[in-house]
């Protein structure tokens, strides 16, 4: 009789060869792809930022002309929000969620693969606009009438609209996957009170995606119709309303920043207990705070529109909600400090990045409260002050935790440690560079420098600060480069990590680094919120049981609240359908973008055929059980 491991190895093969790699549905592989792809977009959007900073280093500079500059700032913002922040966090989710809940894959592994393909294709489609000489150039929120058919006559805006809607399919699919996985596939015993905090934040985030992204899709559809089919939704001369775009956009846009922020603080809440050697204090309140942020984030959007001329009474309601949403963040800050206070801190690089986050998001949060004060908002919105604010909360508040996560989970994903001293150096360059670049922007905004300007006059006192910021940007960029070098060196010669180098508490650290394709040899049964910190079973008592499931590509499904084992869930074999469907969808997108009817029809045809093949049940009856 073959051992458990031998039986599992037979059914859960690791990919070998190109076709196997292309058709794999392994969440770990897909998670790594997400992280790699998102990091790639981070680098190119970051290079765009450096180009912008070079242009702005000197007044009346001629390094970049207005059209190029405007295209670059649009691509920079759009990429950082849509192609970096959310995907990188979903990349972590992809890799870690099934492991943290003691399962073997996501609920819909093929949909998972599809999501990555679509993300890749949508991102490449957006950036291909450069080669068509048609960069979108109206900013990442793309206000009408400037982005309308009369004002933006090239295809740039269409690249934006189609790529974003295309990407939305991936993000939505990914979110549905996360929710159903977290609901239905937790290890027996992982009741609601024992769910790791990162899972909570991913679930709340995913619900926010499901309800917020459609507002963006609606706006994009309406503008697409205006641009391609002569409708009049946003045309002020025909009773259309440009403000409708802003409402729809920000009904999506504000929850979107929390869609980015929540998983990031989920990472922070994961790392702090481990490096404080103390369980997370006030876990229930943190969960409530997470849910509260998710819900209230839908009620603040007009604070992006305080300067458009909406009556004070309406504005006041949204100011109240904006100021209110500070409280759940405050709850988390106090809980984190309490955890640290009662613990014994180990200052390793993940914790250092968490400290960076703690400081930077605090600053960003304060300016956020200032923006809730309507008259102050109207003074500094659309200026460099707001550019400072959102970089503090998005870079400080999300990217720093991402780097914390990268350093924390690198050993688990690759089996090797990153070089610790190098990582600390990375942190300091990034932290100092970040503050050099973005802190002075507060001042520039107060001095009257608007955002999105490709140059400025030389007699108004903005020169020195701009130059200083450019230097800072290169310091920051250098820090990122240090990380890349550390990553490369680690891949080829890093220290072996072992299963749990950080002595952490959650289930992903119970398996080898990197985990085998089937994750767990035996599926765990959980009896606490910190399974790996559970005290050893006393003498004489039976060990907690684990579940064997080794004859077939299978994992367990459980009930939503109490996580009682319900059913065996077959996992799909490798499948080409996700790739083919993504290709069909890309062809459809190209047809819509370029008004090519044949491509639209072919895309729809491919998608339809692939979907039928995908959902057609496989030969074995067991697998048919769960379709």
């Amino acid at each position: 009789m073959a051992t458990l491991v031998e039986r599992l190895d037979r059914t859960w093969e690791a990919p070998t060869g190109a076709w196997s790699w292309l058709t794999s549905t392994d969440h770990k592989l897909i998670g790594r792809r997400y992280l790699g792809t998102a990091f790639f977009f981070f680098i190119i959007a970051g290079i765009g930022a450096l180009l912008m900073r070079i242009q702005l280093a000197l007044p009346r500079n001629t390094f970049l002309g207005p059209d190029t500059y405007n295209g670059i700032f649009t691509l920079h913002g759009t990429t950082m929000i849509f192609l970096v922040s959310t995907p990188i966090l979903f990349g972590f989710a992809n890799f870690m969620v099934p492991l943290m809940i003691g399962s073997r894959d996501m609920a819909f592994p093929r949909v998972n693969a599809l999501s990555w393909y679509i993300f890749l294709f949508a991102g490449l489609l957006l950036w291909s606009s450069i080669f068509f000489g048609a960069m979108p150039d109206d900013g990442w929120f793309n206000y009408v009438p400037l982005s309308g058919p009369e004002q933006s006559t090239g295809r740039g805006i269409d690249f934006y609209l189609v790529s974003i809607v295309f990407l939305t399919v991936a993000t939505t699919a990914g979110s549905i996957n996360v929710i159903v996985t977290a609901f239905k596939m937790r290890a027996p015993g992982m009741s609601v009170r024992r769910i790791p905090i990162f899972i909570w934040t991913m679930v709340v985030t995913s619900f926010a995606v499901i309800f917020a992204y459609p507002a963006l899709t609606a706006a994009n559809i309406l503008l697409y119709m205006d641009r391609h089919h002569d409708t009049l939704f946003f045309n002020p001369t025909a009773q259309g309303d440009p403000l409708l775009w802003q409402h729809l956009f920000w009904i999506f846009g504000h929850p979107d920043v929390y869609i980015i922020f929540l998983p990031a603080v989920g990472i922070v809440s994961t790392i702090i207990p481990v490096f404080s050697r103390h369980r997370l204090v006030a876990y229930p309140l943190i969960v409530l705070a997470t849910v509260a942020i998710g819900v209230v984030s839908f009620g603040v959007w007009v604070h992006h529109m305080f300067a458009v001329g909406i009556p004070d009474l309406t504005n006041s309601f949204f100011a109240g909600a904006t100021i209110l949403i500070t409280i759940p963040s405050g709850i988390q800050y106090v809980a984190w400090v309490a955890t640290i206070w009662r613990g014994n801190v180990i200052w390793k690089s993940p914790f250092l990045f968490v400290f960076g986050f703690f400081v930077l998001f605090l600053i960003g949060g304060f300016t956020g409260v200032m923006f809730g004060v309507i008259p102050i908002d109207r003074q500094v919105t659309d200026s460099y002050f707001v550019v400072a604010h959102f970089h503090y909360v998005l870079f400080g508040g999300a990217i720093f935790p991402v780097f914390a996560g990268l350093h924390y989970w690198w050993p688990k994903m690759t089996g090797r440690m990153l070089h610790e001293r190098w990582a600390q150096l990375t942190f300091w360059f990034m932290f100092v560079g970040f503050n050099m670049t973005f802190f002075p922007m507060h001042i520039l905004g107060l001095l009257g420098m608007p955002r999105r300007v490709y140059t400025y006059n030389d007699n108004i006192g903005w020169d020195a600060l701009n130059f200083f910021q450019t230097v800072g940007a290169f310091v920051l960029g250098f820090g990122v480069l240090l990380f890349i070098i550390n990553a490369i060196i680690s891949t080829y010669g890093g220290e072996d990590a072992g299963p749990n180098p950080w002595e952490a508490n959650t289930l992903e650290w119970a398996v080898n680094s990197p985990p085998p394709p089937y994750n767990f040899v035996v599926l765990p049964v959980v009896r606490s919120a910190d399974p790996l910190w559970d005290p050893p079973t006393p003498e004489g008592e039976a060990e907690p049981s684990a579940l064997e499931l080794a004859d077939g590509k299978e994992t367990y499904g459980s009930s939503i609240l109490d996580a009682e084992a319900e059913r065996v869930l077959p996992m799909p074999q490798d499948s080409p359908w996700p790739m083919f469907l993504a290709i069909g969808a890309l062809i459809l997108a190209i047809g819509l973008l370029f008004d090519l009817l044949p491509a639209t029809i072919i895309g729809i045809a491919i998608a339809t055929i692939v979907l039928v093949a995908w959902t057609w049940p496989p030969a074995t009856k067991e697998e048919a059980m769960t379709l």
């Binding site: 440009p242 006030a282 504005n315 405050g330 500094v380 200026s383 107060l446 001095l447």
Partner: protein, 348 residues
């Protein structure tokens, strides 16, 4: 592993504490320095208010900044001190009752502070809501890509890119746009308000100190958004009345051959299709009103100083100075150009 980590903690910890504390202190001293600089240099600054609106906003801002600084120091100190603190024994599964601490310091206290801030916001909104009936002057501004069309309805004249307001008096400003969304922002005097096609927004403006105040369009409006600058002159009564009277007058009749030739060149090159010069048959509405162009310090919406050289460069080659703007480049002989510029300079 437990011992190892305890040993390695100490020097690691000390080093990081030193660096963190040092960085934080540098930041804490530089920050006020930079802000002080912002206030003192005589530059346009929201923190160097010259009118009651900006004054109120600046004071509110300073108060919030002070509060933020205090809370910042407290939280960062707690983080660092907490990290340095050693709790003996294995704390991993230690139960700390977070609910009490979090409820007080994470909900109750912030809740009270935020409620006060919200109340102050409502109060400030009320203070800033000046009724239009208090206005002693009226201006209408229409945003264009990439210049400002200015009307004084009570005095029946049109100008561009520059407004004058009477010192110490409320001015009622109506804002709209002819094409895309722009935004009216003079930080020394007031918060901003968007200019939206199809909609009219209204704001009350007032300056308490005489001077020239700079503003820039503050809503991305296309290629030349960066070069759409507005200048506001806060004049005492005499200066103001004189300016009004001057603007109301038509352009003078050319009284030399050079000026006559200049005016002829103007019409020969079809400038009248886009520009207005009151008192002549030039009544185009696509570009700025040029009736008193020579009275303005800048051309091209605050981008270039109003000098002969810049005027020449603008007429011949504006597309490379302000690419994509709506005026084409013109070709003409140097003598024609000279005459044209002389005539334009006579339009004071």
């Amino acid at each position: 592993m437990q011992d190892e980590t305890r040993h390695s903690r100490a020097p690691e910890l000390k080093r990081i504490h030193r660096t963190s504390t040092r960085t934080t202190s540098i930041a804490a001293t530089t920050l006020p320095g930079l802000l002080f600089l912002a206030q003192q240099s005589g530059l346009t600054s929201a923190l160097d208010p010259k009118g009651p609106r900006s004054e109120l906003i600046a004071r509110f801002f300073w108060a919030l900044l002070a509060l933020a600084a205090v809370i910042f120091v407290i939280f960062v100190a707690l983080f660092l001190i907490g990290s340095a603190k050693h709790n003996p024994g294995d704390q991993r599964l230690h139960f700390a009752n977070g609910t009490g601490v979090v409820s007080v310091f994470g909900i109750a206290i912030p809740g009270v502070i935020l409620l006060v801030i919200f109340g102050a916001t409502l109060w400030a909104l009320n203070e800033l809501a000046t009724p239009a009936s208090a206005a002693e002057e009226s201006i209408e501004i229409v945003g264009h890509q990439w210049w400002w069309e200015i009307h004084y309805p009570d005095h029946d004249f049109t100008t561009a890119n520059e407004i004058h307001i009477p010192l110490g008096k409320d001015v009622h400003v109506k804002l709209t746009s002819a094409d895309v969304i722009h935004s009216f922002w003079i930080p020394s005097l007031s918060d901003k308000l968007d200019m939206i096609p199809g909609k009219t927004n209204e704001i009350m403006l007032k300056a308490d100190t005489p001077g020239i105040y700079r503003g820039q369009c503050a809503e991305f409006c296309g290629a030349q958004h960066a070069n759409m600058i507005l200048r506001v002159f806060a004049d005492n009564d005499d200066t103001y009345d004189a300016w009004i009277a001057n603007q109301q007058a038509d352009a003078g009749i050319p009284d030399s051959d050079l000026l006559e030739r200049g005016q002829q060149v103007y019409f020969n090159n079809a400038c009248m299709y886009c520009h207005t010069v009151a008192g002549t048959s030039s009544s185009g509405k696509i570009g700025p009103d040029l009736t008193h162009v020579a009275s303005r310090d800048y051309i091209a919406a605050g981008m270039l100083e109003n000098t002969q050289g810049n005027l020449a460069g603008w007429i011949l080659n504006n597309q490379s100075l302000k690419p994509n703007n709506q005026m084409p480049n013109f070709v003409m002989s140097p003598e024609d150009l000279q005459a044209l510029i002389a005539w334009l300079e006579s339009l004071k």
